[in-house]
């Protein structure tokens, strides 16, 4: 760590991990409700657990991105952050808004929450992933504006690097596209069409720029490879992400009342979407292979490599599996969608946030380069437990999805939804056990911050 103001990243990273735990706990509740339908009913109905699960994920990833930006932008710009105070203040605004929103989900019926937050004035609630009360959405916009202002002023004053520029384009895009969440017409087709401008153009568009720049930053640090080479890779990866992903939005416009030509545009361009992820894998591995130094923080390198592989598998391979319209006709909105969603979010976004935390946290806590041997060993265990658990979750949901599609959509006399679900129970149970394994991995991850933190740092010699 070279600049004092990078320390504002700490609360963002801690807040992210707190919400990560909440996300996983509510995921386990939902997993159990899939096999024990009335579990916690009526106190926590499935839809409430799901809101907490997905919204906590989105908010903690955003917090992770913000923490990453507050850490890496000053270092790249070679100057202190414009206003550390504003960054700290915005953390507490964001964290309080997230906490109040989750409390609202859990304590009152959703329609009451809509009433007391004045949803009538500007109805934006009740759409998937955008369930937050309108006032929370306005709060997110305020936090995002303050955040972009703070970073923008820092970059203007300092060195302009490709990593900072790409990160800023990604973050500005994120904020601008979020504004579409305030557009909610009665016309369902228009509603859905522009809802995807937030959802798809986030995760398959501008978020990939954020992912790419964090990955590039960490790879420069842990491999010592020349910046020119790394930034060249970054540009070509994000070029492919936009070239494939923008028109690739069309793979959501097959069956929602939009013109049929989207089946061509969407199928062809989304079939190209694995390319940037594949390039990311090649990029990460070849940079590590060409490394000019051995960094004592070997677990950060592991996370970076792991993210590149799992993002390719989850977003690339599992996405491609059901993206062509003749296939998607049968698989749309089934457990296959859930399988893809889980591994893609974990591989691309969860793992990249854990990569930057793994790299930056030891430095922020006063280490010169890395955590102790013991801490790293524990964190490596958590890496494998969480990654294998998520792979199992994905495989079980994939099996459930294939069977569901067969029973409910392919058979000559198709089963009703609930009858088909009853046939999937065994897969849902196995998914739940894999979920418990994920939780154990997460607890080990948290333990790695505390167990062995008084021991001396790992050095290159001790790991050689």
């Amino acid at each position: 760590m070279q600049y004092q103001s990078q320390k504002v990243a700490i609360p963002y990273f801690v807040g992210a991990i707190v919400l990560f735990v909440a996300q996983i706990l509510f995921g386990l509740i939902m997993g159990l409700q899939y096999v024990m339908g009335d579990f916690l009913f009526p106190e926590i109905p499935f839809n409430v657990a799901r809101m907490v699960h997905t919204n906590a994920l989105i908010v903690w990833l955003l917090m992770g991105f913000m923490g990453a930006a507050y850490y890496l932008v000053p270092e790249e710009a070679e100057t202190e952050l414009h206003s550390p105070f504003l960054a700290k203040l915005m953390f507490w605004v964001f964290f309080a808004a997230a906490g109040l929103t989750v409390a609202g989900y859990l304590l009152v019926p959703y329609s009451t929450l809509a009433d007391i937050t004045g949803n009538e004035l500007l109805p934006t609630m009740g759409r998937e992933f955008l369930e937050q009360p309108t006032i929370t959405k306005i709060g997110i916009v305020v936090v995002a504006l303050a955040f972009l202002y703070n970073l923008g002023m820092t970059i203007l004053r300092g060195r302009k690097t490709a990593i900072n520029l790409v990160l800023m384009i990604g973050l500005v895009g994120l904020a601008v596209l979020f504004l579409f969440s305030f557009y909610n017409p009665t016309n369902l087709v228009l509603d859905k069409f522009f809802w995807w401008w937030v959802v798809h153009l986030w995760v398959e568009g501008v978020w990939e720029l954020i992912l790419g720049s964090i990955l590039a930053f960490v790879l420069i640090k842990v491999t010592g490879v020349d910046r020119e080479i790394i930034e060249k890779w970054l540009y070509i990866i994000i070029a492919m992400a936009f070239i494939s992903g923008i028109i690739g939005t069309g793979h959501h416009f097959f069956w929602i009342g939009t013109p049929e030509y989207w089946q061509w545009w969407g199928s062809i361009f989304s079939a190209l979407e694995p390319i940037p992820f594949f390039m990311m894998t090649i990029f990460a591995f070849s940079m590590v292979k060409q490394r000019r130094r051995n960094h004592p923080n070997r677990v950060a390198t592991l996370w970076a490599l792991g993210a590149s592989v799992m993002a390719f598998l989850g977003a690339g391979v599992w996405g491609f599996m059901h993206t062509l319209s003749p296939v998607n006709y049968y698989t749309h909105g089934s457990q296959l969608t859930a399988a893809h969603g889980h591994m893609a979010f974990y591989g691309a976004y969860v793992m990249i946030v854990l990569t930057i935390i793994s790299y930056a946290m030891p430095l922020l806590r006063g280490r010169t380069a890395a955590n102790s041997e013991r801490q790293q060993t524990l964190e490596i265990w958590s890496f494998w437990l969480m990654t294998i658990a998520m792979t199992l979750i994905t495989l079980f949901l994939t099996a459930a999805g294939i069977l569901q599609v067969w029973l409910q959509r392919v058979l000559d006399s198709p089963l009703p939804f609930m009858a088909a679900q009853d046939q999937l129970t065994v897969f849902y149970w196995m998914r739940e056990f894999a979920g418990v394994m994920f939780l154990i991995g997460l607890l080990l991850y948290i333990a790695s911050f505390f167990v062995g933190d008084k021991e001396p740092e790992a050095s290159v010699k001790t790991i050689a």
Partner: protein, 150 residues
Amino acid sequence: MSEAFTKSMARNIFYGGAFFFLLLFLALTFDTINALPKLDNRAALESPVGPQIAKGKHLWEVNNCIGCHTLLGEGAYFAPELGNVYKRYGSNLDAVKGRIKGLISLPAEGIPMRRMPRFKFTDEEIAALAEFLKYASEINTSGWPPNDQG
């Protein structure tokens, strides 16, 4: 990557590619908006039941129905698809209303299966929800879902 391929070339591909495909996307969006009146069943929205459909969509949202169900395949996968539920119940509004009423008035305890929350809807609200679901089922979805089971 080869030395002849420089960072500034890569940067130009990014800016050029992003700009070109963004423009193409906007052009396709413009065309889609113009084509929608033939596909999106807006005649229903402009008909006398239009206000009821709007009310039904609002109720759909403020009760977070998407948190369990899918609508045209989007949402949660815990409960049945509702984009075509009107057709599944024989294109009969009364059957849809009866089904909703039945599901929300099950006893709170003692039914060990996936359940719908006990929403307190008036008859008028149930009618609005049914009209909204009828409207959704008449959107031209290019033949999706493959059968009435959704």
